[in-house]
Amino acid sequence: MKAHIKRKTAIDIAFYILLIVLSLVFIFPYLFMVNKSLSSELLVKRTLVPFFPWGWDQDGLVWCRPTFAAYRNIFAGKYNYLKNTWNTLKIVLFNMVAVPLSASVVAYGFAKLEFFGKKFLFALMISTLLLPSMVLQIPQYILFTSIGWGQSAKPLTWPNLLGGGAMNIFLVRQFMRSIPKDLDEAAKIDGAGPFMRYALITMPLCVPILIYLLVGTFNGYWSDFFGPLIYLNVKDEYTLAIAIFRDFNSNYKMTEVPNGMAAGVFMSVFPAILFFLFQRRLIDGVMITGMKG
């Protein structure tokens, strides 16, 4: 008996060690980013730049310490990321209202109402998930330019009022179907119209999935790259993702890395905060996706 317990504990310990190692490996990018953002300029001119922000500089003359200079730079110095952040927020906030609203309305139609062509439309919608987005980007761009939305962020926001995305509709529909029917039935008997039933009964019960949608939409549009890349070409209108790309990724220089990392830390903070606040719901939300089989 004792030997058995001992063996089991040994396995458990080995297991934990493995997990810790794995976690360290996975968390490495974050640590790297934070460390680099605190590195001083002199330090990154070395032939081999160390991990932690402490070290001698290239000529071995100056002992470098961690510094917040990079953070000051991105807001005051050459870069002015507050404006870009605001541009990004405008897009994100609009979508955070439009997407859950639109997706839930459509999902209610699929989940609780009957109408001619329902199965067909649903199947059609699901099949659009297989479309490579590239096929649609070019004609959409031409379409938007011809109606005058060419150099603005409008193509990234307004179209989301029409459905909000096939995947999102699917998720909300799944969720709505798992809500017990009694309340809805009762309300129907009492004579409430579909819209009232949607707004007053079903929606309040959908809070978990709506939170999932909200966070997902935030993440999606906060880091959206391709959309702003083709629609925004004036520096003042760039979103944060594009601004960082143009400043750091496209003419990459090792000496600019601390500034880039500071910008990166800044940009990653918001999704990270949301994630930590809502992680339970997020993981559960993903579980619901998994259940479709």
């Binding site: 297991f15 997990l19 976690s23 996975f26 968390i27 990018p29 974050y30 790297f32 680099k36 081999l48 730049v49 309305v105 459509v106 139609g109 699929f110 109402l113 109408f115 001619f116 329902k118 439309l121 659009t128 297989l130 479309l131 490579p132 987005s133 096929v135 649609l136 070019i138 004609p139 761009y141 379409l143 029409l162 459905g163 909000g164 119209g193 579909p194 949607y198 880091s223 790259f225 083709i230 993702a241 790309f245 990724n249 496209s250 003419n251 990459y252 090792m254 880039g260 990392m261 910008a263 990166g264 990653s268 990270a272 993981i283 993903v286 619901i288 996706t289 998994g290 259940m291 479709k292």
Partner: protein, 322 residues
């Protein structure tokens, strides 16, 4: 119900029943029509023309039939399968965008599936604090793409972190060119993609949860070891998720745009198909017609692969009714 009273009455009845539903799904119908089907059709039509985006110049819209498609396979410098070898002959073009994208998909899809699956199996326990580990492994997926591109670029810089540590343990780093070397760029790209395993892992975890514990209990009582349990129970019961992940994996891998985010979009060994389409349509040229043709070629390839998988999908076990 007889058809006495005619079609008109039937239609009226349908409308009466459905009007509410139609109203609710109206946004979707409009959205699909305007932003999905219309563009899809137009995209195909554009692909049959030489369509220069400037549009105001003479000759900017010329009908070409399938000329764009032919050009893509025979004359386009980036896509061609054969190139001159300097001695008057031809050799296989190892930097062909087709070949690079194909290689990328063939390597990353299995790796991603298998490794993330194993990770999920590893973390599918109820031990204390397992949630924390799951979180940490998922964390890299929250970093915005642009930022992670920058991180990897600087980590694998010749003066960067990976070389720093390798140097510390005594490896000669002067020959290690990571992203900039002709032969080393591709493996480096694959390696940096591994940090995204957390995303797939979460999906696997959800499907693994659906396998009832009772099945495992029974197997354990029958004397099956952990490895046998994995192969005989876990894998077969997750085939529906494997199916889903395989398809999304193919669609995703063939459209990878991350090399552009790294700032290395057009580099020889890393030139991927989605970047090529972007370059043709929006960046250096504005050859909308040609780029549309390229995107339809992609669509066709994805369509064929998906169809193949669906056809041969008898092995998928659907655990529950959807």
């Amino acid at each position: 119900m007889t058809s006495k009273g005619g079609i008109g009455k039937r239609i009226l009845k349908t409308v009466k029943k459905s009007w509410a539903g139609w109203l609710f799904v109206l946004p979707l119908v409009l959205g699909l029509a305007i932003f999905t089907f219309y563009p899809m059709v137009m995209s195909f039509i554009y692909s049959l023309y030489h369509y220069d985006g400037v549009g105001m110049v003479e000759d900017s819209v010329v009908f070409r039939g399938f000329g764009n498609y032919i050009e893509a396979f025979t004359a386009d410098q980036d896509l061609m399968f054969t190139i001159p070898d300097g001695n008057g002959g031809t050799m296989f073009n190892r930097n062909s965008v087709f070949y690079t994208t194909f290689r990328y998909a063939v390597i990353t899809i299995p790796i991603n599936l298998v490794l993330s699956y194993l990770l999920a199996v590893l973390l599918n326990r109820k031990t204390k604090g397992i949630g924390v580990f799951r979180l940490l492994i998922y964390l890299p997926c929250i970093i915005p793409g642009v930022v992670s591109g920058l991180i990897w670029r600087s980590a694998f810089d010749p003066a960067g972190l990976v070389n720093y540590w390798l140097d510390k343990i005594g490896v000669d780093v002067s020959g290690l060119t990571w992203f900039r070397g002709e032969t080393t760029a591709f493996p480096t790209l694959i390696i940096t993609g591994l940090w995204g395993l957390g995303g797939s892992m979460i999906l696997w975890l959800s499907s693994l949860k659906n396998i009832p514990d009772t099945v495992y209990e029974a197997a354990r009582l029958d004397g099956a070891g952990p490895f046998t349990r994995l192969i005989k129970i876990t894998v077969p019961m997750s085939t529906s998720m494997i199916f889903y992940n395989l398809i999304t994996g193919i669609i995703g891998a063939l459209q990878t745009f991350s090399t552009y985010t790294l700032g290395l979009g057009k580099q020889s060994g890393l030139y991927l198909y989605a970047v090529k389409i972007y370059e043709e349509a929006f960046n250096t040229a504005s050859r909308y017609g040609y780029a549309s043709a390229l995107s339809w070629i992609l669509f066709a390839v994805i369509g064929v692969l998906t169809l193949l998988i669906f056809r041969t999908s008898k092995w998928v076990y659907y655990g529950e009714e959807s």
